[in-house]
Amino acid sequence: MAGNGNANKLDRRQFLAGVSTALIISGAALIHPAEAWGLEVKNLTPETMRTLIKMARDIYPHDRLADRFYAVAMKGYDEKAGSDAATRAMLETGVSTLDELARKKHGVTYADVDWEAERVALLRQIENDKFFQTVRGGLVVSLYNQKDVWPAFGYEGESASKGGYISRGFDDITWL
């Protein structure tokens, strides 16, 4: 992800355009002013990538995790879309279908549906489709396997180089 150079130049209209998502589309990039990062989208449309990131949070919602972790988790699909036309078509079509369902029910695209529960209800309609299965199956690894995510869950990761826990609290429970 790039730095926050573009974020300051965005005007008020652009901010208001993204109603229920903090992610703003600027050319081929996604900008997250609040978290101060940008993501260049190379192979998918930026709208598709924005929807995939929203969808990622709706699939595995953790309120303590910032959007950037979901963006990192989904970035691989943009890369894969560059080398694999079938993947790109599946993702673009999948998002269109999801947006179509959202428009029918709520009159707006998926990413602009206000409530998580309403978006989840749309996802339940497609949860057995290859598109959803692929996104969820990849996400369960690409989200939770980020080392930067682990502290939010208290997980400490690698321990051998620190001598294990023999002197670092393997039996420090006190509340029993």
């Binding site: 690894v141 396997n145 869950f153 997980y155 400490e156 051998a160 001598g163 294990g164 023999i166």
Partner: protein, 523 residues
């Protein structure tokens, strides 16, 4: 020091696989001056190569070659091409096993007699008894430095164990301790003591846990009688006109086909690959696969009744700190049909890291119900439930009619359906396990379904009568005198206990038999 043998040398014993069965057998034979070649499909990673990272380690160690599945088990739906989580590397699954080393109970060698006829179950008494195996259990425990045997103290209990022990005491369980583990609580056998690193499944970074990789195999190599050939994938066992095994065709690390001559062939590829290799070795003389006149090769596939219970508390546990399998409750291990099922089960602590918890807590689940469980990860405690499952003829490893591996060999298809007894036991065990945690204040419990199998058993079972099974009480196949089954495939039934100690004990016993028979020129 390690030997180097000629491909045309037909005086050697060829062992396929280097895990608990193959690795132990190889060293035991080498110590007796017998020449051995191990063909190991996987590469040789040493302790320094292991990584404390679940997915990276999975990529390094796991058997990921194509397999297919069938049947009503949930693994078929959730992990259609990963029926088992076992290792493809020198040391086999002793690289990633947890270390629990329990003897079978007496009745578990004679389940047909004790349990009676159970509909749909292909129960049979083993051709050996606990008494027959006891001297070898003792040798194995000494070799592996099992805690609570040979005067070796138990391991200290970690946080996950303390939660289990407190809950178990509250519900009235009496037999609760930190296990009989092949993990050093003090230096022994040239290995140091446990540093409570965690990541036992990812290869022990301190070497405190017994693995053939850095015990049996180097000891065997030191004799000058053992050669290990990593990245050597056995494709076929050949035989002569008299029906005697003559050698093994394999693909070497460069993908080149080789043929190693042999006086004796021992198969120890774990209970999926072992029957696959026998089936792939069919010939005009053995049209249904080698050593398969009984039709039992690949049948009676067992994976233990398994399940887990994870529980969230209102305060931190940090279960990942220290040994993965840090303690045991054995009160439910006996056969007590009043519970609504035959056989018993063990309750053993288990912890997995956040990445694997996300993948295995409730495979396929998503949304807030699921993620709120993971939000409680730091406050989570975990146990594994492992019990005897019923052998069924239709639970079976066969050759997939369509899928081929990179050598164009038919891959294994694993079909599995739970028996009613397995289902009843799991239901009871999930309740019993949840009760342990609720007794010490769990706010939420998760009865977690089985993972891909780690205990694969029974696909070349031992039998007294050649009509009923594949091998005799020494693992020697009924049909081919110089062909042996040397892994958990031999198990007639599965017992409730983690199988490694029994596999090692059988391998020690088999080595004695092979050396004796070779001396008498019987094979």
């Amino acid at each position: 020091m390690a030997a180097k043998f000629n491909l045309t040398d037909d005086t050697i014993v060829v062992i396929i696989g280097s895990g608990a069965g193959g690795g132990t057998l190889a060293n035991e034979l080498a110590q007796r001056g017998i020449k051995v070649v191990i063909l190991e499909a996987g590469p040789r990673h040493e302790i320094e190569d292991f990584v404390n990272d679940e997915w990276e380690s999975f990529g390094q160690l796991a058997w990921k070659d194509m397999r297919t599945t069938a049947g009503s088990w949930k693994v078929h739906r959730d992990f259609p091409n990963l029926p088992a989580w076992i290792v493809k590397a020198v040391g086999g699954s002793t690289v990633h096993w947890a270390g629990a080393s329990l003897r079978f109970q007496e009745h578990e060698f004679k389940t047909r007699t004790v349990y009676g006829a159970i509909q749909g179950a292909n129960l049979m008494d083993w051709p050996i008894t606990l008494k027959d195996l006891e001297p070898y259990y003792a040798k194995a425990e000494d070799k592996m430095s099992v805690t609570r045997t040979n005067g070796i103290p138990g391991l200290p209990g970690n946080n996950n164990f303390k939660v289990l022990a407190a809950g178990a005491a509250k519900v009235g369980y009496k037999q609760v301790h930190t296990g009989r583990m092949a993990i050093n609580s003090q230096p022994r056998g040239g290995r140091g003591s446990c540093q409570q690193i965690g990541f036992c499944f990812q290869g022990c970074k301190s070497g405190a846990k017994w693995s053939t990789l850095y015990t049996e195999i180097p000891k065997g190599e030191e004799t000058g009688k053992l050669e290990v050939r990593p990245e050597s994938h056995a494709a076929r066992i050949e035989h002569d006109a008299a029906g005697k095994a003559t050698g093994v065709v394999y693909f070497d690390k460069d993908g080149k086909q080789q043929r190693q001559k042999a006086r004796i062939v021992c198969v120890a590829g774990n209970s999926i690959e072992t029957p696959r290799l026998l089936l792939l070795s069919e010939s005009s003389r053995f049209p249904n696969g080698l050593a398969n006149s009984s039709g039992q090769v690949g049948r009676n596939y067992m994976r233990h009744m398994t399940g887990s219970v994870y529980a969230v508390f209102d305060k931190p546990v940090r279960m990942w700190r220290g040994t993965t399998m840090a303690g045991i409750v054995t009160d439910e291990a006996a056969n007590n049909p009043q519970r609504g099922f035959v056989g018993g089960f063990e309750i053993e602590t288990l912890s997995i890291g956040l990445p694997f918890m996300a993948a295995f807590l409730d495979p396929g689940a998503w949304g807030r119900e699921f993620t709120s469980a993971l939000d409680g990860y730091e406050n989570m405690s975990g146990m594994w439930l492992v019990g005897e499952d019923m052998p069924q003829e239709s639970n079976r490893v066969t050759l997939d009619p369509a899928a081929k591996d990179k050598w164009d060999l038919a891959v294994a298809n694993v079909h599995f359906d739970d028996h009613q007894n397995d289902i009843a036991m799991r239901k009871y065990a999930h309740k019993a396990g949840s009760a342990v945690y609720e007794a010490v204040g769990a706010t939420r419990t998760f009865p977690t379904p089985p993972y891909p199998s780690t205990h694969n058993l029974g696909t070349c079972r031992m039998s007294e009568n050649p009509r009923d099974g594949v091998c005799n009480k020494f693992g020697q196949t009924h049909d081919v005198r110089n062909l042996f089954i040397s892994d958990g495939s031999q198990f007639t039934t599965g017992g409730a206990e983690n199988p490694t100690l029994t596999i090692v004990s059988l391998a020690i016993r088999q080595a004695e038999y092979i050396a004796d028979e070779m001396g008498k020129k019987n094979i």
